[in-house]
Amino acid sequence: MCTTVKRDPIHVDLEVKPAERKMDEDAGITKSRFEFWLRKALEWGQITTPESQQDVCLHLPELQEFLLQIYGALKHMNCADAIQKFPLIGQLLGRLCWNPFIIGYDECQKILMWCLCCLYSGEPQNPVELKANSWIQISLCRLLSLSGLGHHDSDINNFITTLGLASADYYQKLVENVVFSLVTELSRNWFNRFKSQQSISSRVRCLCLLCVPLINLTDVTPLLEALLSYHGGGSEDVLPCEFLEAVNEAILQRKISLSESAVVQLWLRHLPSLQKALLKNFESLISLQPGSLEEMTCLIKSSLLHRAACHPAIFRAIEEFFKNALLETDGAPEVMTVVQVFTRCFLQAYQENNEQHKFPLKAYFPHNPHSLLRAFLKHPSDLPATGLHQHLIHIAEMLKAIVETKCMRSYGNLFETWFLFIHFGEWADTAAEHLLVSKAESSDAMLWLLAFYYDPNDENQQRTQTMLEGKSVCEHLTTLSRTPTLSARDLQAAVNSKISRRQPATKELAVHLIISFLIFTANGHKIAREWIAHFAVTYEVLKVSSLLTRIAHRVSQLGVKYQRSVKLVNDLLQILKFVD
């Protein structure tokens, strides 16, 4: 249910003559804008239909902006000057003070009261100023005191004052109780007492609109949560888009914090909000790079997206988003890293989730064989040293079998398989490490894994070529690992001679192998700092650091055996910061 009220084209519909364009040079408050808001204030004061309420809500941010400008102009004036400059200022402010939507919104009430304070004369010189003073006091009392509540006014006032309390105590408790009553009504479905489904929906919709200006008032949080989990009987969503968008915006700007289930409900019922949250998180994750994976993990966890993903519908939307990002960037390493880190966070959340209605993992990856998924999910620390090698071969064989099966050759299926592999990219890193340190004879399987990782789209059998060149680089690196005196220049020269320019994937694979060589072999350790300082620029620095951060994260979890490597990687990352 998405109805949008068309905004008034403030800046175009009114013809403004040059002479009257500026009422106040500094603040840029044109007469037409002033009149526009005065007209709006009049309009809102007279009609209280849901449509006019929607119109108020739609204009609130702009109005607040305008009021700030007015305040900016007023603070340098006394009452007489202000009235001369803005003859209708009293009418405008007075009408706005009457409107609870405006008073309830964000900081509008504060700015309005600042304006009133500017207009107050400490030493009134004439009847106009005296009248203005009296009017300001009346307006402020209406905003702050217990009057204005109908015939119970003085009773409540007496009661609260006799208790030794102030209106601030009363309204705090009142809002708390009103919110509590509404939450109870919603949860009991008390609204169902109304005759038709239609009138229930319109009541809930109306309530949502009332909440829009109040969203960042913490007292209202329980009501927002109750509304987000409210489902009417009908098939159509009863909550209006304006409400959902406003709540989402407040969450993303960290102006409010709602319970996890409420946030999930919001994203489940409003896909654009989920997409916006994803995009925002994704953008920060990309701009964070090259940063540590721990920082990325924190960013993901603070977004709640990884936990929301435990709901398969949300997971699928996120996957769709990642797929598009990978396709549009041609598999940029930053995106691949994001997918990997996100997957890790998701799996952790999935394991921690003890809900009764837990979906099987298969539900999240419906397009992939379960055996492959199971193989990827194995944790390297659960396998013995030799077992790890076997497991890599097993993964390579499974992937190869899937990719090379005739019926699987369609582009979509190929992509799905590769996409799953990207989620668990640590296995590619492990394969590169094994190619250089393992003495076992099975380098083809590892090379195939890496070649597939960097070049899934095997047009004209180019993967065979990539593998051949990769093998040659790898053999050369193995020789270098046994050379007694090695310099970074030797390494660079040797690798350069092995890579052809026709195969972009080979270059990526070669960097991966070089970095693994530097980190996991003794000879590599000796020249690592030098190579990074002088030759990392030959490749894309971002790619190199992205690889290093991934490896840093992986080895830091492998225990004391890798302590030296961990230190080295961190040093290299430091050096990289000054390269480029």
Binding site: P100, F101, I103, G104, E107, Q109, K110, M113, W114, L116, C117, Y120, S121, G122, E123, N133, Q137, C141, L143, L144, S145, L149, H152, D155, I156, N158, F159, I160, T162, L163, G164, L165, A166, S167, A168, D169, Y170, Y171, Q172, K173, L174, V175, E176, N177, V178, V179, F180, L182, R193, F194, R203, C206, L207, L210, P213, L214, L217, D219, V220, L223
Partner: protein, 339 residues
């Protein structure tokens, strides 16, 4: 400590002055001094936690003479600021100074409480409109959020007042100072019905109702709506005893109009309850769970027996009430879907 105590003794007169015409003579310097005192009292309160000796002494001193509590110390800047804002006697210069101080606070290390208060008031206005229940269910919804807010504030103030055994009288004094009327009784009833917490404060409230001025209790039982009284009786048997005796008295004042075939009030006495209301009050009591249900039924039968135990309408209010209840129960059994 004695200096502090004598300074704190100025609190009541400061608060009283802020609400009076005395402020007419205040210039900005006087006003600022008053506001500074307000902040001083607030700070004093924040230090009481770690100084229990001072706390007790202050409590004693404040409660002596004019009734004030430590809460007044804590809330002093708010109480003072709001009272002065509403005070028309304040000069323009002082008022301007006050406004600036309240809206642009600085120096005291905290933001102004004014915007949040305004926002909350607006929020309650917006949301209360939505709460208005449709007319057909309003009878059950006599417990409004306004009443609940007042009831919770009353309970918390009673708790603050009545910390120790010796504080009991001061809480009862507070209750006697509250403006009497329907609103007070409703607030008291809602406070007694609060689901949890504040047991001590609720006990005080019940004590005030049952053992204080007897006029309170009869007006309380008379003015409160039938469902409210029934819920209270279910929760507080000691209150039920009194309520039923009032019901019995009200019933005995009804007389049967033979021509119109119905129970009527004489219209001569103040404390009369019409038949329809009697009936509603009894129905509500009988709708409460056991043991109240059986107890009310027994007591009604006893009253009926006193009147001669006739089964014919028009002779005893109690016979007629019981017959009515049976008919209603039968109807409910036969056509449950229509009700």
């Amino acid at each position: 400590m004695e200096t502090l105590l004598s300074q704190a003794e100025q609190l009541p007169s400061l608060l009283a002055a802020s609400r009076s015409a005395l402020v007419r003579g205040w210039d900005t310097a006087t006003l600022q001094r008053a506001l500074d005192w307000g902040h001083f009292f607030q700070q004093l309160h924040s230090r009481l936690l770690c100084q229990p000796g001072l706390r007790t002494a202050l409590e004693r001193r404040l409660c002596r003479g004019r009734r004030l509590s430590l809460g007044h110390l804590r809330r002093c800047p708010q109480l003072l600021g709001l009272a002065l804002l509403e005070n028309r006697a304040l000069s323009s210069a002082a008022y301007q100074h006050l406004l600036r101080g309240l809206l642009f606070p600085g120096g005291h290390g905290e933001g102004s409480f004014i915007p949040l208060l305004t926002r909350r008031k607006a929020a309650s206005q917006l949301l209360c409109v939505h709460l208005a229940p449709p007319p057909e269910v309003s009878a059950e919804h006599w417990v409004t959020p306004q009443l609940r807010a007042q009831a919770q504030l009353l309970l918390s103030q009673l708790r603050e007042e009545g910390g120790g055994e010796d504080r009991v009288p001061s809480s009862l004094v507070l209750l006697d100072q509250l403006p009497r009327g329907l609103m007070l009784y409703r607030v008291v009833a809602v406070a007694l019905l609060e689901p949890a917490g504040e047991a001590k404060a609720r006990a005080l409230l019940l004590l005030w109702l049952l053992q204080g001025d007897p006029a309170h209790l009869s007006v309380f039982c008379r003015l409160l709506p039938a469902p409210g009284m029934a819920s209270l009786c279910s929760r507080y048997p000691e209150l039920c005893v009194h309520y039923f005796s009032y019901l019995a008295a009200w019933g005995s004042r009804l007389s049967y109009d033979l021509l119109q075939g119905e129970w009527k009030v004489s219209g001569l006495e103040e404390d009369e309850v019409p038949w329809q209301e009697m009936r509603e009050r009894v129905v509500c009591l009988l709708q409460e769970p056991e043991p109240l249900h059986s107890s009310i039924r027994t007591q009604l039968s006893q009253l009926k027996a006193k009147d001669g135990d006739f089964e014919i309408r028009g002779l005893s209010v109690w016979t007629d009430l019981l017959l009515d209840m049976e008919t209603a129960a039968l109807e409910k059994m036969l056509v449950p879907n229509l009700l």
